[in-house]
């Protein structure tokens, strides 16, 4: 029954609260019901009412009515704690399978202060934050990355039980967030295929940074590998210098999907490992996947492009 209703529920929600990078909670989007504590409270009130009736005690009636009214007033307060809250999607970096994908959500409150706003994907625990008046709070949520490809989380639950915990106001928002999940790197032997097709041993030419040939020293720039620092020069007081190596082209490394064994996920994991390894060594390499070829290059941009290709391999035509 529940399972049958779920798609219907999803469709209804998608209509009511369409996915957007920024969602402002309003009366169309906030649901509110008594919480379990509220139900117990109601039972307690019923008992108090019985005392009032049986003892014909006006004050017992009075207190019961006061607490009933507090309950009713709390509906407004709980609703108010969420109403007008703006949720904005923040960026989240790519992760590898097995890691936790992080989704950053920014809570903005254009008007009042908000207390104990809880965010998360049930059944896992919700993260509780306060949002200052006319301010914002950032919440980092995480979900385990189980499969490579785009990780699109379920709708995010935003809820608040403030001030008394008797009621819970909640909403399900889709901030249209997605995190790219790369395959899990897997160590292993790599049969290298060098070059595509015919291989002419033409003159090799130094091509950018590499690990092959010492080119000389140059000034350190942020981002250079620490392993290449010329500490001797530094101790001589010549400043931070980096040993510059050049990679020789013509001996381009190719990572070839087809040359590997194992099932495709294993192959992708292995490729992933080597993409990381080569980038670490600042070595240029190319990536060859069925239906996709990435020309040899090096650097972080190249690495990201390769990893992305691996992550999305087979996902979309």
């Amino acid at each position: 029954m529940r399972a049958a209703l779920k798609p219907l529920w999803r469709r209804w929600l998608a209509k009511r609260i369409p996915p957007a990078a920024s969602v402002r909670l309003n009366q169309r989007r906030i649901f509110i019901l008594p919480s379990r504590v509220g139900a117990v409270f109601a039972v307690a009130l019923l008992l108090m009412l019985l005392v009032g009736i049986n003892y014909q005690n006006s004050l017992a009636y009075g207190l019961t009515f006061l607490l009933v009214s507090v309950f009713v007033v709390t509906i407004l307060h709980t609703y108010r704690n969420l109403a007008g809250l703006v949720l904005k999607a923040g960026g989240g970096g790519a992760v590898f399978v097995g890691e936790h994908a992080r989704f950053r959500v920014r809570l903005e409150s254009p008007e009042r202060e908000r207390q104990a706003v809880a965010l998360g994907w049930p059944p896992s625990d919700l993260v509780v934050r306060d949002v200052p008046r006319q301010g914002q709070t950032e919440v980092d949520l995480s979900q385990p990355a189980v499969r490579r490809g785009w990780l699109r989380p379920e709708r995010l639950r935003v809820e608040s039980r403030f001030p008394l915990g008797l009621l819970v106001a909640w909403s399900w928002v889709d901030l249209d967030q997605a995190v790219l999940v790369y395959p899990r790197p897997l160590e292993g032997e790599l049969p290298l295929s060098a070059g595509l097709g015919d291989e002419e041993e033409e003159g090799m030419r130094a091509r950018g940074q590499g690990a092959d040939d010492f080119q000389g020293l140059r000034e350190y720039q942020p981002g250079d590998s620490k392993r290449r620092l010329d500490w001797k020069a530094y101790s001589r007081g010549q400043g931070l210098l980096v040993k510059d190596f050049a990679m020789l082209s013509g001996r381009d490394l190719w990572l070839d999907f087809d040359s590997l064994g194992g099932d495709s996920e294993q192959r992708l994991s292995l490729l992933c490992h080597w993409v990381l390894q080569f980038t670490e060594r600042q070595q240029a390499f190319g990536l060859q996947l069925p239906g996709q070829v990435i020309a040899p290059d090096y650097g972080e941009g190249h690495r990201d492009a390769c990893l992305r290709a691996l992550a999305l391999f087979g996902a979309r035509a």
């Binding site: 008992l47 005690n57 207190l63 006061l66 008007e111 207390q115």
Partner: protein, 661 residues
Amino acid sequence: MSSLPGIPRIALTWLLVAQVLVIVPHLVHLPLWMIALWLGAAGWRVQIFRMRARYPNGWAKGGLVLLVLAGILLSRGTLVGLDAASVLLIATFTLKLLEMRTRRDALVLIFLGFFCVVTAYLFEDGILAALYSLLPVTALLTALVGLQHSGFAERPWPPLRLAGGLVLQAVPLMLLLFVFFPRMGPLWSLPLPNDKGVTGLSDSMEPADIAELSRSSALAFRASFESEVPPRGQLYWRALTLERFDGRRWSQSGYADVPVAPQWSKAGAPLDYNIIMQPSGKRWLYALDVGEMAQDSGRMMNDFRWQRLRPVDRPLLYQVRSWPEAVRQAQAEPPGIRQALQLPQQGDPRSRAWAAELKAQYPQSDALVAAVLQHFNREPYVYTLRPQPLGSDSVDDFLFNTRRGFCAHYAGAMTFVLRAAGIPARVVAGYQGGELNPSGNYIQVRQFDAHAWVEYWQPGQGWRSVDPTFQVAPERIEQGLEEALTEEDGFLDDQPFSPLRYRELAWLNQLRMSWENLNYGWQRWVLGYQGEQQLKLLQNWFGSFDWQRLALVLVGTGALLIGLLALCLLKPWQQRPDPQRQAFRKYERLLARHDVRREAGEGARSFALRAAQQLPEQAAQIETFARCFEQQRYAGGPASRDALRKALSDLRSALPWRLSR
């Protein structure tokens, strides 16, 4: 989420504060060791919080529970009954503190706390108690706020402010519910606190009993008159009649319990008044002779007293119409009249002899009665609350030796003499007089106003009331007990702080009167607001009245109140788009239907230009609207919704009709 372990410091503090506040009103009836129990439990809990002590284990908890049960058994003698149950509740409330590890436990404690507050109302329901109870309720709500996972709850005062605000905001709705929520009778009968109704008249009277009562300033009842209050001397509030005499003690006869109204006939002008009676634990009601009440207030018994089916165990409001000049049982031989002639077989020979003497001298009953009264008036009788003890022939001793006594002595003696002379007579017990509260037009009758007088029967004339005490101490009747006792300081001399002793201090008296007034209103309009009272009020307000209408009013007004509060809280006007913007949105929607959509960063003027290019036939109307909007929004022109509306409707009529694109 609520079961996460750990209770924040502030919440714990507020819980402890709330506990103290909850327990304080119970102190009056709690055994003293409960205080020690609470102190111990609170200390232990604080030490647990400071990691200096551990939670009690199963054995310790079991032991504590047994100890508490034993304590209750010892101090209350029983584990059942309201009194013991309330002690048990407080003990649970206290011990739960030790067991409180998680937020859920704290919630249980808070809900228990609300129950304890309700229980306190059963023992004390005065105006002060009611106001006071707002403190523990607010503290409990504060603790509830403090349990929330918010930085807000880490500061001590904001939760209090919030909880106080919640309570204040809830008050209007609460009043509405209080007035309109239908009251019903008890679903089942429940034990009442047993320390109620200790003072008051009882169904048998030894003279000393009334002397005892005269030491109490406790309120017996209040009577508010719709017309002018009759003079004091006429205020004889009948409670019951005492017809059986055993030589020492007057008591109710079995015959008086026959629930058959005696025959009587109305005469003269009636008096209408309401009585709010304090709980007496007895079934009879108070009324001036001869009272008439609604059927469901009580029944008239054979001796003209009014009686309820169940004892008066909570303040009771009832309405009476009295006919002071009514003729009672004027028929020839009313049933049970023989009881009014009952005397012990022997004893008090001198009195009997005197009666015979009088009988011989005055064959007419009226004359005889007048002679007896004359006797009390002429002979040196003294009205005192401290008479000498009487011997075994108590009437003789009183009439011929001591001649010192108070109402019960005089009434008893006179009845004895009348009966001995063959005139049916009985002692009437009740209250006489009362204190007039001038601002409230009502009379307060206290226990020290308890009184006894005599009524005798004559064929053809029925029962007549006479008061021998009036002959001895007229000031007792006309001004009250205090005046009658000016020579001796017997008036409330064991209550040095009773404000009633200081009536001569005008301002204090004024203050006391105002306070009494307030209490009277409280009794009448709050505590007495039960079934009948509610029906009457609602009928007054709405004329004819049915529950359907009531429900409508309740829901309607409730919705209105909540709506108002929502307006105050949410301030929708702060985020409501202004009329210009609303109009512009309509304009955009209209143009969007014709496939001209505004970009987010596009201003009104550039959008209008683009739209005019795409819809050249309507260019004039589009530009008119844009100009009008610009004038109002940017040029400081007068904000006129109508101008915008008109421009918009012009545009709409210029455009071909289209629902959507």
